[in-house]
């Protein structure tokens, strides 16, 4: 079985190099991840913001107070 496997799935060889320098792609990846996005904001902050919006909708008179403290 081992021999059949070796004959059926060829080795990729030992002289292996990427077709291009991968550093530019690496830099792009690092740049993309360094831009703050929605995913970088903790879920708790989103939950708190959502709670404030709901509270303001229920009691609109509190909106000036909330804005003052923000």
């Amino acid at each position: 079985m081992m021999r059949l496997l070796r004959e059926s799935v060829p080795r990729v060889g030992d002289s292996l190099e990427p077709d291009r320098d991968l550093w530019p792609a690496m830099l792009r990846r690092m740049d993309e991840q360094s831009v703050p996005g929605a995913a970088s904001v903790p879920w708790f902050d989103w939950a708190l913001a959502g709670g404030l919006v709901v509270f303001a909708a229920i009691a609109p008179r509190t909106i000036p107070v909330i804005l003052y403290y923000l």
Binding site: M1, L4, L5, V9, V12, D14, P18
Partner: protein, 183 residues
């Protein structure tokens, strides 16, 4: 490449998060990491993407790297898990690049009795193996990497490598016998 003799400061600086040190390590090790990943994913284009992903994970994990140790085994382990994650997202029929299928049909030296059709079915059965078993078998059996190296890359013992190879071959044999092929 031995980074520790003349580059232990590079490892220390990498651990502290310096991008220049990370670039030095990247340029030094991208070829060997790419080669390792290619042995697993069997697709040059995917190997490039997975290599970048692996180095991205290394960059994020820089603070957890022990600068007293060699960089390459640590890098290889991260690259292996990145490749494993890629394999798990693939459908079995897409798990090998077309150019690799072409070499499967070529007659193998030393055994004319094994037809191209049997080899192709074997390769297809191999692509259907669970990713964990397939990675172990491809590294230990196909690529003939030392079992200790495979064990380190997978984060398991040598005994576990042997067991996974045994299970992979047993599943292959079962799959092939259901197709009427007796190895």
């Amino acid at each position: 490449m031995q980074m520790r003799d003349d580059g232990s400061s590079v490892l220390d600086r990498f651990r502290q998060g310096e991008v220049d040190a990370f670039e030095t390590l990247f340029r030094t090790h991208q070829r060997s990491v790419y080669g390792w990943v290619l042995r697993i994913v069997r697709d040059p284009g995917a190997a490039e993407d997975v290599t970048v992903e692996a180095f991205w994970r290394m960059h994020r994990a820089h603070a957890r790297f022990d600068s007293a140790r060699e960089f390459e085994p640590w890098a290889r382990r991260i690259a292996t898990h990145a490749a494993l994650d890629w394999l798990r997202r693939q459908k079995p029929e897409n798990s090998m690049a077309p150019e690799i299928w072409d070499t499967v049909a070529a007659p193998a030296a030393g055994d004319a009795a094994v037809s191209a059709e049997i080899r192709k079915k074997t390769a297809q059965a191999f692509a259907r193996l669970p990713a964990k078993l397939r990675v172990t078998a491809v590294l230990a059996v196909v690529e003939e990497r030392p079992q200790k190296e495979v064990a380190e890359a997978l984060g398991i013992t040598v005994m576990a490598v042997k067991l996974r190879v045994f299970r992979a071959l047993r599943l292959l044999r079962k799959d092939l016998s259901e197709m009427g092929i007796t190895p």
